[in-house]
Subunit: 153 residues, 2 copies
């Protein structure tokens, strides 16, 4: 099922992952369970804050982008084996109901694994931009990626 | 409703935020919506991976820790105004069904806002440790915090 392996990944290549949206109901439902801060739940209250209106939990935004990434990985056959973490995560602008975020991924670094010759780490910049051209979210992600052939050591 | 302001926060102070758990059903439900990778959905498949068993999406772990943090902020009256992002996020070990994660927060830095005299940034290390003493998640978070009195400039 894997088609694109560590060796196949080009540096400085940008791909469009897909788009992400959330309704007000989606935003309130996620926030009620995981992030019940009033600016994610209450429209009137949110208008009085620097956000300017009800907006999604940053973790909701991350989770929706994750879903777009998983769909992309499955569609392309990228040999992704999960991620040990992020180098940075920036919530730069609010994500409002019915905004459309365009998510892109740019490969910036490849690093052989020192302990596991069958994988490598691909570092990527992931950017989610809304319909006004504002970057809503930016993150730098390390992804474990299977090699076509194990590295000879 | 705010009781603890930027000026009140001590550096190098560690607080216990609370504990976090997820059932297998919780893990599968979250992953089905946001992170449908097979090691978050399928017990048998997950056993064949380096995870060793079905485990939570890293974004689910983050979201559950967020909920514990919001409950802590509301209980203590910490003047939190949200976060612009994380400096790092590490998923170090799998979070398995019914594991109990103890979440602690250590304040490591305070930074006056250059543009907003009514807030400051509190940088904290957040650590989630399972019942075996393994660190499952580690992150460094910047939190906007209201000042008791605006900074005179």
């Amino acid at each position: 099922m894997f088609k694109i392996f560590y060796e196949d990944i080009e540096l400085d290549h940008t791909d469009i992952i897909g788009t992400v949206q959330a309704s007000k109901e989606d935003i309130v439902r996620f926030a009620t369970e995981f992030d019940p801060q009033p600016f994610h739940l209450d429209d009137e209250f949110a208008k009085s804050t620097p956000f300017g209106g009800l907006c999604a939990s940053g973790w909701h935004t991350c989770s929706l982008i994750m879903r777009a990434m998983v769909d992309y990985v499955l569609a392309t056959g990228l040999a992704s084996l999960g991620s040990p973490g992020l180098q940075t995560l920036q919530w730069r602008k609010p994500f409002f109901p019915n905004d459309t975020l365009s998510v892109s991924i740019k490969t910036v670094k490849k690093t052989d694994s020192r302990s596991r010759p069958e994988i490598g780490f691909v570092t990527s910049e992931i950017t989610a931009t809304n319909q006004n051209g504002d970057i809503v979210l930016f993150m730098i992600n390390d992804m474990m990626t299977a090699r076509r052939k194990p590295l000879e050591t």
